[in-house]
């Protein structure tokens, strides 16, 4: 997720840079360590592009990857998320146009990044299933721990 007034900055400057917050795009983007360059959307995004949009209720900015392009919407998921979001195309206003991973600049056509992008799209269904399973397993382990050691707080 990104903090700040991005739509206005994109309109005025044609580009926006920010440090990402959260773990939803891990391992590509790390919490408060990596900075992204966002450009305004001018046409349809492609499968594998990373889209910037706002959640309608909270207004939170989200930067997640497009895994399917439909006629009027995208199916989008974070690289470290188990749930796919359906996002109307007109709600997406920016896309990732490179990022600094720590000090290292990763251009959109970087060979390693291109491989990662293809890989993460190819394994997306299995990866999402694994993330959901891992979440359930962790919650189950936490419940077991509380049942066995009821007086210890987490």
């Amino acid at each position: 997720m990104i903090e700040g007034g991005i739509e206005q900055e994109l309109q005025q400057s044609g580009a926006y840079m920010s440090t990402t917050v959260g773990y939803s795009m891990w391992p590509m983007l790390r919490d408060r360590r990596d900075t992204v360059i966002i450009r305004p959307v001018t046409g349809d995004l492609q499968r594998g592009d990373v889209a910037l949009y706002r959640l309608p209720k909270s207004g939170t900015y989200v930067l997640h990857r497009v895994i399917h392009v439909k006629e009027d919407h995208y199916l989008i998921v974070g690289d470290n998320c188990g749930v796919v979001e359906t996002v109307p195309k007109d709600r997406v206003f920016g896309y990732l146009d490179g990022f600094y991973r720590g000090e290292k600049w990763i251009a959109p056509d970087n060979r390693g990044y291109a491989l990662y992008r293809r890989f993460i799209c190819a394994v997306s269904p299995a990866h999402r299933a694994w993330i959901r399973f891992r979440g359930r397993a962790l919650r189950f382990a936490s419940r077991c721990k509380r049942a066995i050691f009821p007086n210890k707080s987490e």
Binding site: G4, M17, S18, T19, R32, R33, T35, E103
Partner: protein, 89 residues
């Protein structure tokens, strides 16, 4: 004075900007755009402890400007980044 840890100079297209990472990004979530002299002064402050007088001397050595203009530019730049909490005094 020097720049605080967590504020990094980055390239945004043809522009130089400063962004915050790590703990610093909890206090500052935007960007600061630097012009050519701003980037020059930023690099000096990022590389070690400097006084305003040292920054003025460095600016005079690098650019063909009067001492009055250099002094005013340094004072304005320092005030701007200090106001954003980017300086350790």
């Amino acid at each position: 004075m020097k720049t605080k840890a967590g504020f990094m100079r980055r390239k945004l297209g043809t522009q130089e900007v400063v962004v915050a990472v790590g703990e610093a990004s909890k206090q500052f979530s935007g960007i600061i755009r630097l012009n050519e002299t701003g980037a020059f002064l930023w690099d000096l402050l990022a590389s070690g402890d400097r006084t305003e007088a040292e920054l003025v001397d460095a600016l005079l050595a690098e650019y063909d400007v009067s001492r009055e203009l250099a002094t005013a530019d340094v004072a304005k730049f320092v005030a701007t980044i200090r106001a954003e909490g980017m300086l350790d005094d």
